[in-house]
Protein backbone atom coordinates (compact mmCIF):
# COMPACT_ATOMS: atom_id res chain seq x y z
CA UNK A 1 0.00 0.00 0.00
CA UNK A 2 1.14 3.56 -0.65
CA UNK A 3 2.23 5.87 2.17
CA UNK A 4 -0.80 8.05 1.51
CA UNK A 5 -3.32 5.19 1.89
CA UNK A 6 -1.57 3.88 4.99
CA UNK A 7 -1.57 7.35 6.56
CA UNK A 8 -5.31 7.72 5.97
CA UNK A 9 -5.82 4.27 7.44
CA UNK A 10 -3.82 4.93 10.63
CA UNK A 11 -5.30 8.38 11.23
CA UNK A 12 -8.80 7.00 10.57
CA UNK A 13 -8.38 4.13 13.01
CA UNK A 14 -7.02 6.35 15.79
CA UNK A 15 -9.83 8.91 15.33
CA UNK A 16 -12.41 6.16 15.50
CA UNK A 17 -10.80 4.97 18.72
CA UNK A 18 -10.97 8.47 20.28
CA UNK A 19 -14.63 8.87 19.36
CA UNK A 20 -15.53 5.46 20.77
CA UNK A 21 -13.88 6.38 24.05
CA UNK A 22 -15.71 9.72 24.08
CA UNK A 23 -19.09 8.04 23.71
CA UNK A 24 -18.30 5.59 26.49
CA UNK A 25 -17.17 8.21 29.00
CA UNK A 26 -19.77 10.95 29.14
CA UNK A 27 -19.71 13.29 32.14
CA UNK A 28 -22.82 13.49 34.30
CA UNK A 29 -21.69 15.90 37.05
CA UNK A 30 -19.41 18.93 37.40
CA UNK A 31 -16.96 16.75 39.34
CA UNK A 32 -16.86 14.32 36.37
CA UNK A 33 -16.42 17.22 34.01
CA UNK A 34 -13.64 19.05 35.90
CA UNK A 35 -11.70 16.23 37.56
CA UNK A 36 -13.15 12.94 36.18
CA UNK A 37 -14.85 12.38 39.55
CA UNK A 38 -11.37 11.88 41.12
CA UNK A 39 -11.62 8.21 40.16
CA UNK A 40 -8.69 7.91 37.75
CA UNK A 41 -6.20 5.15 38.70
CA UNK A 42 -2.55 6.31 39.00
CA UNK A 43 -1.32 4.35 35.97
CA UNK A 44 -4.02 5.82 33.72
CA UNK A 45 -3.33 9.28 35.12
CA UNK A 46 0.40 8.86 34.47
CA UNK A 47 -0.29 7.97 30.84
CA UNK A 48 -2.78 10.81 30.46
CA UNK A 49 -0.41 13.33 32.08
CA UNK A 50 2.38 12.30 29.72
CA UNK A 51 0.14 12.83 26.67
CA UNK A 52 -1.28 16.04 28.14
CA UNK A 53 2.24 17.37 28.64
CA UNK A 54 3.89 16.26 25.42
CA UNK A 55 2.57 18.57 22.74
CA UNK A 56 3.08 18.97 19.04
CA UNK A 57 6.30 20.77 20.00
CA UNK A 58 7.72 17.78 21.90
CA UNK A 59 6.72 15.32 19.21
CA UNK A 60 7.40 17.21 16.00
CA UNK A 61 9.87 19.97 16.84
CA UNK A 62 12.05 19.04 19.80
CA UNK A 63 14.32 16.45 18.19
CA UNK A 64 14.80 18.83 15.27
CA UNK A 65 15.72 21.75 17.54
CA UNK A 66 18.29 19.56 19.33
CA UNK A 67 19.57 18.32 16.00
CA UNK A 68 20.49 21.87 14.99
CA UNK A 69 21.54 23.11 18.45
CA UNK A 70 23.55 20.05 19.51
CA UNK A 71 24.75 20.37 23.11
CA UNK A 72 22.68 23.49 23.77
CA UNK A 73 19.48 21.52 23.13
CA UNK A 74 20.04 20.04 26.59
CA UNK A 75 18.13 22.94 28.16
CA UNK A 76 14.88 21.51 26.80
CA UNK A 77 15.70 17.95 27.80
CA UNK A 78 16.57 18.80 31.40
CA UNK A 79 14.14 21.69 31.75
CA UNK A 80 11.03 19.86 30.61
CA UNK A 81 11.72 16.73 32.66
CA UNK A 82 13.42 18.20 35.76
CA UNK A 83 10.31 20.29 36.39
CA UNK A 84 8.50 17.06 37.28
CA UNK A 85 10.76 16.60 40.29
CA UNK A 86 9.50 19.94 41.61
CA UNK A 87 5.92 19.14 40.66
CA UNK A 88 6.04 15.75 42.41
CA UNK A 89 7.67 16.98 45.62
CA UNK A 90 6.48 20.56 46.05
CA UNK A 91 3.06 20.80 44.42
CA UNK A 92 1.07 17.75 43.27
CA UNK A 93 0.49 15.87 46.58
CA UNK A 94 -0.55 19.01 48.48
CA UNK A 95 -2.91 20.32 45.84
CA UNK A 96 -4.48 16.86 45.66
CA UNK A 97 -5.03 16.97 49.42
CA UNK A 98 -6.59 20.41 49.05
CA UNK A 99 -9.03 18.58 46.78
CA UNK A 100 -10.74 21.22 44.66
CA UNK A 101 -11.23 21.69 40.93
CA UNK A 102 -8.83 24.32 39.58
CA UNK A 103 -5.58 26.18 40.24
CA UNK A 104 -7.32 29.56 40.70
CA UNK A 105 -9.49 27.71 43.29
CA UNK A 106 -6.39 27.03 45.35
CA UNK A 107 -4.95 30.53 44.93
CA UNK A 108 -8.33 32.11 45.76
CA UNK A 109 -8.91 30.11 48.94
CA UNK A 110 -5.33 30.03 50.19
CA UNK A 111 -5.06 33.78 49.79
CA UNK A 112 -8.66 34.36 50.96
CA UNK A 113 -9.27 36.80 48.18
CA UNK A 114 -11.35 37.09 45.01
CA UNK A 115 -8.69 39.43 43.60
CA UNK A 116 -6.06 36.70 43.91
CA UNK A 117 -8.47 34.26 42.25
CA UNK A 118 -9.05 36.67 39.37
CA UNK A 119 -5.33 37.31 38.86
CA UNK A 120 -4.72 33.55 38.77
CA UNK A 121 -7.67 33.05 36.43
CA UNK A 122 -6.38 35.63 33.96
CA UNK A 123 -2.88 34.11 34.05
CA UNK A 124 -4.34 30.62 33.47
CA UNK A 125 -6.47 31.70 30.52
CA UNK A 126 -3.66 33.72 28.94
CA UNK A 127 -1.10 30.92 29.22
CA UNK A 128 -3.57 28.29 27.99
CA UNK A 129 -4.82 30.22 24.97
CA UNK A 130 -1.35 30.99 23.61
CA UNK A 131 -0.44 27.37 24.04
CA UNK A 132 -3.58 25.91 22.48
CA UNK A 133 -3.36 28.02 19.33
CA UNK A 134 0.02 26.41 18.65
CA UNK A 135 -1.47 22.94 19.02
CA UNK A 136 -4.28 23.62 16.56
CA UNK A 137 -1.74 24.95 14.11
CA UNK A 138 0.23 21.73 14.58
CA UNK A 139 -2.87 19.69 13.73
CA UNK A 140 -3.37 21.71 10.56
CA UNK A 141 0.26 21.36 9.54
CA UNK A 142 0.30 17.58 9.97
CA UNK A 143 -2.88 17.24 7.95
CA UNK A 144 -1.63 19.44 5.14
CA UNK A 145 1.74 17.71 4.84
CA UNK A 146 0.66 14.12 5.08
CA UNK A 147 -2.88 14.07 3.81
CA UNK A 148 -2.71 16.83 1.23
CA UNK A 149 -5.71 18.76 2.53
CA UNK A 150 -5.26 22.46 3.21
CA UNK A 151 -4.37 23.71 6.68
CA UNK A 152 -7.84 25.16 7.39
CA UNK A 153 -9.60 21.89 6.62
CA UNK A 154 -7.07 20.10 8.81
CA UNK A 155 -7.73 22.45 11.71
CA UNK A 156 -11.50 22.00 11.26
CA UNK A 157 -11.21 18.21 11.36
CA UNK A 158 -9.04 18.46 14.49
CA UNK A 159 -11.55 20.82 16.13
CA UNK A 160 -14.43 18.46 15.44
CA UNK A 161 -12.64 15.55 17.08
CA UNK A 162 -11.58 17.52 20.18
CA UNK A 163 -15.00 19.11 20.39
CA UNK A 164 -16.61 15.68 20.40
CA UNK A 165 -14.80 14.20 23.37
CA UNK A 166 -14.14 17.38 25.34
CA UNK A 167 -17.73 18.65 25.28
CA UNK A 168 -19.31 15.25 25.92
CA UNK A 169 -16.91 13.88 28.47
CA UNK A 170 -15.04 16.84 29.96
CA UNK A 171 -12.08 15.66 31.99
CA UNK A 172 -13.43 12.10 32.03
CA UNK A 173 -13.51 11.85 28.24
CA UNK A 174 -10.22 13.73 27.91
CA UNK A 175 -8.42 11.46 30.37
CA UNK A 176 -9.21 8.20 28.62
CA UNK A 177 -8.59 9.58 25.14
CA UNK A 178 -5.25 10.89 26.40
CA UNK A 179 -4.36 7.38 27.58
CA UNK A 180 -5.01 6.10 24.05
CA UNK A 181 -3.18 9.08 22.54
CA UNK A 182 -0.09 8.39 24.62
CA UNK A 183 0.04 4.84 23.27
CA UNK A 184 -0.32 6.08 19.70
CA UNK A 185 2.27 8.82 19.99
CA UNK A 186 4.92 6.80 21.79
CA UNK A 187 4.59 3.94 19.29
CA UNK A 188 4.88 6.37 16.41
CA UNK A 189 7.92 8.01 17.96
CA UNK A 190 9.79 4.87 19.01
CA UNK A 191 9.38 2.66 15.95
CA UNK A 192 11.39 4.92 13.59
CA UNK A 193 13.97 5.52 16.36
CA UNK A 194 14.48 1.80 16.89
CA UNK A 195 14.69 1.15 13.16
CA UNK A 196 17.25 3.88 12.56
CA UNK A 197 19.38 2.84 15.55
CA UNK A 198 19.37 -0.74 14.33
CA UNK A 199 20.26 0.34 10.83
CA UNK A 200 23.10 2.68 11.75
CA UNK A 201 24.63 1.01 14.81
CA UNK A 202 23.09 -2.46 15.09
CA UNK A 203 21.58 -1.61 18.53
CA UNK A 204 17.88 -2.14 19.17
CA UNK A 205 17.82 0.42 21.99
CA UNK A 206 18.37 3.94 20.62
CA UNK A 207 19.73 5.21 23.97
CA UNK A 208 22.58 2.69 23.62
CA UNK A 209 23.01 3.25 19.89
CA UNK A 210 23.53 6.95 20.72
CA UNK A 211 26.91 6.08 22.28
CA UNK A 212 27.79 3.20 19.96
CA UNK A 213 29.92 2.76 16.86
CA UNK A 214 28.42 3.10 13.41
CA UNK A 215 28.20 0.01 11.26
CA UNK A 216 30.81 -0.27 8.45
CA UNK A 217 28.27 0.82 5.77
CA UNK A 218 27.93 4.09 7.65
CA UNK A 219 31.67 4.49 7.92
CA UNK A 220 32.39 3.07 11.40
CA UNK A 221 33.64 5.07 14.41
CA UNK A 222 31.54 6.39 17.28
CA UNK A 223 28.35 8.16 16.15
CA UNK A 224 28.98 11.29 18.21
CA UNK A 225 32.63 11.61 17.14
CA UNK A 226 31.56 11.26 13.57
CA UNK A 227 28.89 13.92 14.00
CA UNK A 228 31.36 16.31 15.69
CA UNK A 229 33.66 15.79 12.71
CA UNK A 230 30.93 16.36 10.10
CA UNK A 231 29.75 19.52 11.86
CA UNK A 232 33.27 20.94 11.98
CA UNK A 233 34.03 20.06 8.35
CA UNK A 234 31.02 22.14 7.32
CA UNK A 235 32.01 25.02 9.58
CA UNK A 236 29.49 24.43 12.39
CA UNK A 237 30.43 24.16 16.08
CA UNK A 238 31.08 20.54 17.06
CA UNK A 239 27.81 18.80 17.95
CA UNK A 240 28.79 18.15 21.58
CA UNK A 241 30.13 21.70 22.17
CA UNK A 242 28.16 24.60 23.59
CA UNK A 243 27.62 28.00 21.95
CA UNK A 244 25.40 29.72 24.50
CA UNK A 245 26.80 31.24 27.68
CA UNK A 246 26.59 29.07 30.81
CA UNK A 247 24.64 31.75 32.64
CA UNK A 248 21.97 31.87 29.94
CA UNK A 249 21.75 28.06 29.80
CA UNK A 250 21.33 28.06 33.57
CA UNK A 251 18.53 30.65 33.46
CA UNK A 252 16.64 28.99 30.61
CA UNK A 253 16.77 25.60 32.34
CA UNK A 254 15.40 27.06 35.59
CA UNK A 255 12.61 28.93 33.78
CA UNK A 256 11.54 25.79 31.91
CA UNK A 257 11.55 23.72 35.10
CA UNK A 258 9.59 26.19 37.24
CA UNK A 259 7.24 26.80 34.31
CA UNK A 260 6.58 23.08 33.90
CA UNK A 261 5.73 22.83 37.58
CA UNK A 262 3.42 25.86 37.34
CA UNK A 263 1.40 25.05 34.21
CA UNK A 264 -2.28 24.74 35.18
CA UNK A 265 -3.19 22.04 32.63
CA UNK A 266 -0.54 19.74 34.10
CA UNK A 267 -1.37 20.52 37.74
CA UNK A 268 -5.10 19.80 37.35
CA UNK A 269 -4.31 16.26 36.17
CA UNK A 270 -3.32 15.51 39.77
CA UNK A 271 -6.81 16.49 40.99
CA UNK A 272 -8.23 13.50 39.12
CA UNK A 273 -6.77 10.70 41.26
CA UNK A 274 -8.44 9.31 44.37
CA UNK A 275 -5.75 10.03 47.03
CA UNK A 276 -2.46 11.72 47.88
CA UNK A 277 -0.62 8.43 47.53
CA UNK A 278 -2.13 8.01 44.08
CA UNK A 279 -1.03 11.56 43.18
CA UNK A 280 2.60 10.75 44.05
CA UNK A 281 2.44 7.49 42.16
CA UNK A 282 1.00 9.10 39.06
CA UNK A 283 3.80 11.72 39.10
CA UNK A 284 6.30 8.86 38.90
CA UNK A 285 4.41 7.10 36.11
CA UNK A 286 4.08 10.36 34.21
CA UNK A 287 7.80 11.07 34.31
CA UNK A 288 8.68 7.50 33.31
CA UNK A 289 6.41 7.74 30.27
CA UNK A 290 7.77 11.18 29.40
CA UNK A 291 11.36 10.02 29.88
CA UNK A 292 10.90 7.31 27.24
CA UNK A 293 10.33 10.00 24.62
CA UNK A 294 12.74 12.54 26.08
CA UNK A 295 15.72 10.20 26.22
CA UNK A 296 14.96 9.03 22.67
CA UNK A 297 14.62 12.52 21.14
CA UNK A 298 18.35 13.39 21.39
CA UNK A 299 19.24 10.05 19.78
CA UNK A 300 16.95 10.78 16.81
CA UNK A 301 18.51 14.23 16.64
CA UNK A 302 22.02 12.78 16.29
CA UNK A 303 21.10 9.89 13.96
CA UNK A 304 19.03 12.08 11.67
CA UNK A 305 21.62 14.83 11.43
CA UNK A 306 24.39 12.37 10.54
CA UNK A 307 22.15 10.75 7.97
CA UNK A 308 21.03 14.04 6.52
CA UNK A 309 24.55 15.41 6.10
CA UNK A 310 25.73 12.13 4.55
CA UNK A 311 22.82 12.14 2.12
CA UNK A 312 22.94 15.74 0.92
CA UNK A 313 26.36 17.26 1.54
CA UNK A 314 28.28 17.85 -1.69
CA UNK A 315 26.06 15.50 -3.67
CA UNK A 316 24.61 16.24 -7.13
CA UNK A 317 21.13 17.81 -6.84
CA UNK A 318 19.89 15.57 -9.65
CA UNK A 319 20.80 12.49 -7.58
CA UNK A 320 18.63 13.44 -4.59
CA UNK A 321 16.22 10.72 -3.44
CA UNK A 322 12.44 11.07 -3.83
CA UNK A 323 11.85 12.44 -0.30
CA UNK A 324 13.97 15.48 -1.08
CA UNK A 325 11.58 16.52 -3.86
CA UNK A 326 8.49 15.79 -1.76
CA UNK A 327 9.64 17.97 1.12
CA UNK A 328 10.93 20.64 -1.24
CA UNK A 329 7.34 20.94 -2.49
CA UNK A 330 6.16 21.72 1.08
CA UNK A 331 8.85 24.38 1.50
CA UNK A 332 10.48 22.64 4.46
CA UNK A 333 13.70 22.20 2.55
CA UNK A 334 15.02 24.41 -0.23
CA UNK A 335 18.09 24.46 -2.44
CA UNK A 336 19.61 27.40 -4.25
CA UNK A 337 22.64 26.59 -6.38
CA UNK A 338 24.72 29.69 -5.63
CA UNK A 339 27.93 28.54 -7.36
CA UNK A 340 26.14 26.70 -10.18
CA UNK A 341 28.06 23.45 -9.77
CA UNK A 342 24.90 21.34 -9.55
CA UNK A 343 25.95 20.04 -6.11
CA UNK A 344 24.40 20.80 -2.75
CA UNK A 345 26.69 22.71 -0.40
CA UNK A 346 25.36 22.62 3.16
CA UNK A 347 27.62 24.95 5.18
CA UNK A 348 27.54 27.09 8.32
CA UNK A 349 28.58 30.23 6.43
CA UNK A 350 25.34 31.86 5.19
CA UNK A 351 27.08 33.28 2.08
CA UNK A 352 28.09 29.87 0.75
CA UNK A 353 25.32 27.73 2.19
CA UNK A 354 22.88 26.53 -0.47
CA UNK A 355 20.48 24.45 1.59
CA UNK A 356 17.78 25.74 3.93
CA UNK A 357 16.29 23.11 6.20
CA UNK A 358 13.29 23.55 8.49
CA UNK A 359 14.06 21.85 11.79
CA UNK A 360 10.67 20.05 11.84
CA UNK A 361 11.92 17.88 8.99
CA UNK A 362 14.10 15.89 11.41
CA UNK A 363 11.10 14.06 12.85
CA UNK A 364 8.68 14.36 9.95
CA UNK A 365 11.01 13.10 7.24
CA UNK A 366 13.36 10.99 9.35
CA UNK A 367 11.76 7.65 8.38
CA UNK A 368 11.99 8.52 4.69
CA UNK A 369 15.58 9.77 4.91
CA UNK A 370 16.52 6.49 6.59
CA UNK A 371 14.56 4.57 3.91
CA UNK A 372 12.29 2.84 6.41
CA UNK A 373 9.22 0.86 5.27
CA UNK A 374 6.05 2.72 4.20
CA UNK A 375 4.03 1.77 7.27
CA UNK A 376 6.62 3.44 9.53
CA UNK A 377 6.50 6.62 7.46
CA UNK A 378 2.70 6.60 7.75
CA UNK A 379 2.80 6.29 11.56
CA UNK A 380 4.31 9.75 12.05
CA UNK A 381 1.12 11.60 11.08
CA UNK A 382 -1.04 9.66 13.54
CA UNK A 383 1.56 10.27 16.28
CA UNK A 384 1.83 14.00 15.63
CA UNK A 385 -1.95 14.35 15.68
CA UNK A 386 -2.22 12.39 18.94
CA UNK A 387 0.39 14.65 20.57
CA UNK A 388 -1.28 17.87 19.42
CA UNK A 389 -4.89 16.83 20.15
CA UNK A 390 -4.17 15.48 23.65
CA UNK A 391 -2.46 18.70 24.74
CA UNK A 392 -5.12 20.87 23.13
CA UNK A 393 -7.87 19.05 25.02
CA UNK A 394 -6.13 19.50 28.38
CA UNK A 395 -5.67 23.22 27.77
CA UNK A 396 -9.27 23.70 26.63
CA UNK A 397 -10.48 22.13 29.83
CA UNK A 398 -8.45 24.65 31.89
CA UNK A 399 -10.08 27.49 29.97
CA UNK A 400 -13.55 26.02 30.37
CA UNK A 401 -13.23 25.32 34.10
CA UNK A 402 -11.71 28.76 34.72
CA UNK A 403 -14.75 30.37 33.16
CA UNK A 404 -17.55 28.10 34.40
CA UNK A 405 -16.17 27.38 37.85
CA UNK A 406 -13.92 30.27 38.87
CA UNK A 407 -15.65 33.11 37.08
CA UNK A 408 -19.35 32.09 37.18
CA UNK A 409 -19.78 29.76 40.14
CA UNK A 410 -17.25 31.33 42.51
CA UNK A 411 -17.70 34.94 41.50
CA UNK A 412 -20.60 36.16 39.43
CA UNK A 413 -23.37 33.61 40.07
CA UNK A 414 -22.70 31.73 43.33
CA UNK A 415 -26.25 30.31 43.36
CA UNK A 416 -26.02 28.61 39.99
CA UNK A 417 -27.26 24.99 40.06
CA UNK A 418 -24.87 22.14 39.29
CA UNK A 419 -26.78 21.31 36.13
CA UNK A 420 -26.46 24.86 34.87
CA UNK A 421 -22.77 25.01 35.81
CA UNK A 422 -22.18 21.84 33.80
CA UNK A 423 -23.99 23.36 30.85
CA UNK A 424 -21.92 26.54 31.22
CA UNK A 425 -18.72 24.47 31.24
CA UNK A 426 -19.80 22.73 28.03
CA UNK A 427 -20.66 26.04 26.36
CA UNK A 428 -17.34 27.51 27.51
CA UNK A 429 -15.38 24.62 26.02
CA UNK A 430 -17.36 24.96 22.79
CA UNK A 431 -16.35 28.60 22.45
CA UNK A 432 -12.78 27.85 23.50
CA UNK A 433 -12.53 25.23 20.71
CA UNK A 434 -13.84 27.76 18.19
CA UNK A 435 -11.42 30.50 19.28
CA UNK A 436 -8.49 28.05 19.32
CA UNK A 437 -9.47 26.88 15.85
CA UNK A 438 -9.69 30.44 14.61
CA UNK A 439 -6.14 31.12 15.82
CA UNK A 440 -5.04 27.83 14.30
CA UNK A 441 -6.32 28.90 10.87
CA UNK A 442 -5.26 32.56 11.16
CA UNK A 443 -2.27 32.40 13.47
CA UNK A 444 -1.26 35.82 14.76
CA UNK A 445 2.42 36.28 13.95
CA UNK A 446 3.43 36.10 17.58
CA UNK A 447 2.04 32.65 18.46
CA UNK A 448 5.20 30.68 17.81
CA UNK A 449 7.29 33.05 19.91
CA UNK A 450 4.79 33.34 22.71
CA UNK A 451 4.35 29.59 23.19
CA UNK A 452 8.02 29.29 24.04
CA UNK A 453 7.59 32.09 26.56
CA UNK A 454 4.48 30.62 28.21
CA UNK A 455 6.86 28.79 30.51
CA UNK A 456 8.51 31.98 31.70
CA UNK A 457 5.08 33.46 32.37
CA UNK A 458 3.80 30.40 34.25
CA UNK A 459 7.03 30.27 36.19
CA UNK A 460 7.02 33.90 37.25
CA UNK A 461 3.33 33.95 38.23
CA UNK A 462 2.03 30.60 39.54
CA UNK A 463 5.06 28.76 40.79
CA UNK A 464 5.99 31.06 43.71
CA UNK A 465 2.36 31.67 44.74
CA UNK A 466 1.63 27.94 44.94
CA UNK A 467 4.87 26.88 46.64
CA UNK A 468 4.74 29.70 49.20
CA UNK A 469 1.09 28.90 49.81
CA UNK A 470 2.08 25.43 50.95
CA UNK A 471 5.51 25.92 52.51
CA UNK A 472 5.22 29.36 54.06
CA UNK A 473 2.26 29.68 56.39
CA UNK A 474 2.85 33.37 57.05
CA UNK A 475 2.41 34.31 53.36
CA UNK A 476 -0.64 36.55 53.02
CA UNK A 477 -2.78 37.82 50.18
CA UNK A 478 -0.95 41.15 49.84
CA UNK A 479 2.38 39.35 49.38
CA UNK A 480 1.09 36.74 46.95
CA UNK A 481 -0.87 39.14 44.74
CA UNK A 482 1.91 41.73 44.50
CA UNK A 483 4.44 38.93 43.85
CA UNK A 484 2.38 37.45 41.02
CA UNK A 485 1.85 40.86 39.43
CA UNK A 486 5.51 41.90 39.68
CA UNK A 487 6.68 38.53 38.34
CA UNK A 488 4.40 38.31 35.32
CA UNK A 489 4.57 42.01 34.41
CA UNK A 490 8.37 42.07 34.57
CA UNK A 491 8.71 38.87 32.53
CA UNK A 492 6.10 39.86 29.96
CA UNK A 493 7.63 43.34 29.53
CA UNK A 494 11.13 41.95 28.98
CA UNK A 495 9.82 39.49 26.39
CA UNK A 496 7.64 42.07 24.63
CA UNK A 497 10.52 44.56 24.56
CA UNK A 498 12.98 42.21 22.88
CA UNK A 499 10.48 40.43 20.64
CA UNK A 500 8.33 43.30 19.39
CA UNK A 501 9.59 46.73 20.42
CA UNK A 502 13.33 46.45 19.91
CA UNK A 503 14.08 43.15 18.15
CA UNK A 504 17.40 44.61 16.95
CA UNK A 505 18.76 44.37 20.50
CA UNK A 506 17.71 40.73 20.86
CA UNK A 507 21.24 39.34 21.10
CA UNK A 508 23.63 38.50 23.95
CA UNK A 509 25.13 42.03 23.94
CA UNK A 510 21.72 43.70 24.10
CA UNK A 511 20.28 41.50 26.87
CA UNK A 512 20.34 42.32 30.57
CA UNK A 513 23.32 40.44 32.04
CA UNK A 514 23.30 38.27 28.88
CA UNK A 515 19.99 36.60 29.82
CA UNK A 516 17.81 35.77 26.81
CA UNK A 517 14.03 36.39 26.85
CA UNK A 518 13.63 32.61 27.11
CA UNK A 519 15.51 32.59 30.40
CA UNK A 520 14.14 35.80 31.89
CA UNK A 521 11.28 33.96 33.62
CA UNK A 522 13.84 32.84 36.17
CA UNK A 523 14.59 36.42 37.16
CA UNK A 524 10.84 37.18 37.14
CA UNK A 525 10.30 34.25 39.50
CA UNK A 526 13.02 35.55 41.81
CA UNK A 527 11.43 39.03 41.82
CA UNK A 528 8.07 37.40 42.59
CA UNK A 529 9.53 35.62 45.63
CA UNK A 530 11.35 38.76 46.88
CA UNK A 531 8.33 41.04 46.45
CA UNK A 532 6.09 38.51 48.20
CA UNK A 533 8.46 38.28 51.20
CA UNK A 534 8.94 42.02 51.59
CA UNK A 535 5.26 42.91 51.23
CA UNK A 536 4.10 40.12 53.51
CA UNK A 537 6.33 41.35 56.34
CA UNK A 538 4.73 44.78 56.33
CA UNK A 539 1.14 43.54 56.23
CA UNK A 540 -1.14 41.53 58.52
CA UNK A 541 -0.68 37.79 58.82
CA UNK A 542 -3.33 35.55 57.21
CA UNK A 543 -6.45 34.68 59.26
CA UNK A 544 -6.34 31.68 61.60
CA UNK A 545 -8.61 29.50 59.46
CA UNK A 546 -6.30 29.93 56.46
CA UNK A 547 -3.28 28.95 58.55
CA UNK A 548 -5.24 25.92 59.75
CA UNK A 549 -5.97 25.02 56.14
CA UNK A 550 -2.25 25.10 55.34
CA UNK A 551 -1.56 22.82 58.32
CA UNK A 552 -4.22 20.52 56.98
CA UNK A 553 -2.90 20.16 53.43
CA UNK A 554 0.63 19.53 54.69
CA UNK A 555 -0.47 16.24 56.20
CA UNK A 556 -2.39 13.86 53.94
CA UNK A 557 -5.67 12.15 54.82
Amino acid sequence: MSVQTLTYLFVGITFLLYITIAIKSRASSTSDFYIAGAHVPPLANGLATAADWMSAASFISMAGIISFMGRDGSVYLMGWTGGYVLLAMLIAPYLRDFGKFTVPDFIGERYYSQTARMVALLCAIFVSFTYVAGQMRGVGVVFSRFLEVDISTGVLIGMTIVFFYAVLGGMKGITYTQVAQYCVLIFAFMVPAIFISLLMTGNVIPQIGFGAELTPEYGGGYLLDRLDGLNQELGFTAYTESVRSKLDVFFITVALMFGTAGLPHVIIRFFTVPSVRAARKSALYALVFIAILYTTAPTIAAFARTNLINTVSNVEYSEMPAWFKTWEATGLISFEDKNNDGRIQYLADPDDNELTIDRDIIVLANPEIAQLPNWVVALVAAGGLAAALSTAAGLLLVISSSIAHDLLKSNLMPNISEKKELLAARIAIFFAVCIAGYFGINPPGFVAEVVAFAFGLASSSFFPAIVLGIFYKRMNKEGAISGMLVGIIFTASYIVYYTFINPAADNPEGWWFGISPEGIGTLGTLFNFLTAFVVCHFTAEPPQEVQAMVEDIRVPG
Partner: protein, 88 residues
Protein backbone atom coordinates in the same frame (compact mmCIF):
# COMPACT_ATOMS: atom_id res chain seq x y z
CA UNK B 1 -10.85 12.46 61.38
CA UNK B 2 -8.94 15.23 59.64
CA UNK B 3 -5.16 14.93 59.91
CA UNK B 4 -3.21 18.15 60.34
CA UNK B 5 0.26 19.22 61.42
CA UNK B 6 -1.00 19.49 65.02
CA UNK B 7 -2.10 15.88 65.47
CA UNK B 8 0.82 14.42 63.51
CA UNK B 9 3.85 16.24 65.00
CA UNK B 10 7.14 15.38 63.33
CA UNK B 11 5.58 14.31 60.02
CA UNK B 12 6.08 17.67 58.34
CA UNK B 13 9.69 18.01 59.57
CA UNK B 14 10.59 14.56 58.25
CA UNK B 15 8.90 15.36 54.95
CA UNK B 16 10.86 18.64 54.63
CA UNK B 17 14.15 16.91 55.42
CA UNK B 18 13.56 14.28 52.74
CA UNK B 19 12.62 16.85 50.10
CA UNK B 20 15.69 18.96 50.95
CA UNK B 21 18.02 16.00 50.41
CA UNK B 22 16.37 14.95 47.14
CA UNK B 23 16.26 18.48 45.75
CA UNK B 24 19.95 18.93 46.60
CA UNK B 25 20.73 15.94 44.38
CA UNK B 26 18.43 17.39 41.72
CA UNK B 27 20.33 20.69 41.90
CA UNK B 28 23.80 19.15 41.82
CA UNK B 29 23.02 16.88 38.86
CA UNK B 30 21.23 19.52 36.76
CA UNK B 31 23.14 22.66 37.47
CA UNK B 32 26.60 21.62 38.64
CA UNK B 33 27.20 18.42 36.65
CA UNK B 34 24.92 19.26 33.71
CA UNK B 35 25.86 22.93 33.23
CA UNK B 36 28.64 24.46 35.35
CA UNK B 37 31.29 21.70 35.33
CA UNK B 38 30.25 20.10 32.08
CA UNK B 39 33.51 20.89 30.25
CA UNK B 40 35.67 19.25 32.93
CA UNK B 41 33.40 16.18 32.89
CA UNK B 42 33.66 15.99 29.12
CA UNK B 43 37.28 14.90 29.53
CA UNK B 44 35.98 11.63 30.93
CA UNK B 45 34.73 9.29 28.24
CA UNK B 46 32.72 6.09 28.28
CA UNK B 47 31.56 4.22 25.17
CA UNK B 48 31.05 6.94 22.54
CA UNK B 49 29.96 9.54 25.10
CA UNK B 50 31.66 12.47 26.75
CA UNK B 51 30.41 12.24 30.34
CA UNK B 52 29.19 15.86 30.64
CA UNK B 53 27.29 15.64 27.37
CA UNK B 54 25.72 12.34 28.38
CA UNK B 55 24.56 13.71 31.74
CA UNK B 56 22.89 16.73 30.18
CA UNK B 57 21.13 14.77 27.39
CA UNK B 58 20.40 11.41 29.05
CA UNK B 59 21.75 10.88 32.56
CA UNK B 60 19.93 13.74 34.29
CA UNK B 61 16.56 12.43 33.09
CA UNK B 62 17.27 8.98 34.53
CA UNK B 63 18.26 10.62 37.83
CA UNK B 64 14.95 12.55 37.92
CA UNK B 65 12.98 9.32 37.52
CA UNK B 66 15.01 7.73 40.30
CA UNK B 67 14.49 10.75 42.61
CA UNK B 68 10.71 10.64 42.24
CA UNK B 69 10.74 6.87 42.76
CA UNK B 70 12.74 7.28 45.96
CA UNK B 71 10.45 10.08 47.16
CA UNK B 72 7.39 7.91 46.55
CA UNK B 73 8.80 4.97 48.53
CA UNK B 74 10.03 7.13 51.42
CA UNK B 75 6.75 9.06 51.68
CA UNK B 76 4.67 5.89 51.63
CA UNK B 77 6.79 4.60 54.49
CA UNK B 78 6.39 7.90 56.36
CA UNK B 79 2.61 7.79 55.88
CA UNK B 80 2.53 4.25 57.27
CA UNK B 81 4.62 5.31 60.26
CA UNK B 82 2.11 8.02 61.12
CA UNK B 83 -0.84 5.85 60.04
CA UNK B 84 -1.98 8.45 57.52
CA UNK B 85 -3.56 8.46 54.12
CA UNK B 86 -4.65 4.82 54.01
CA UNK B 87 -5.63 3.63 50.58
CA UNK B 88 -9.15 2.34 50.64
Amino acid sequence: MKHTEKNAPGYWQENIRLVKILLSIWFVVTFLLGIVFVDQLDNIRFAGFKLGFWISQQGAIFVYVFLIYFYLKAMDKLDDKYKLNKEE
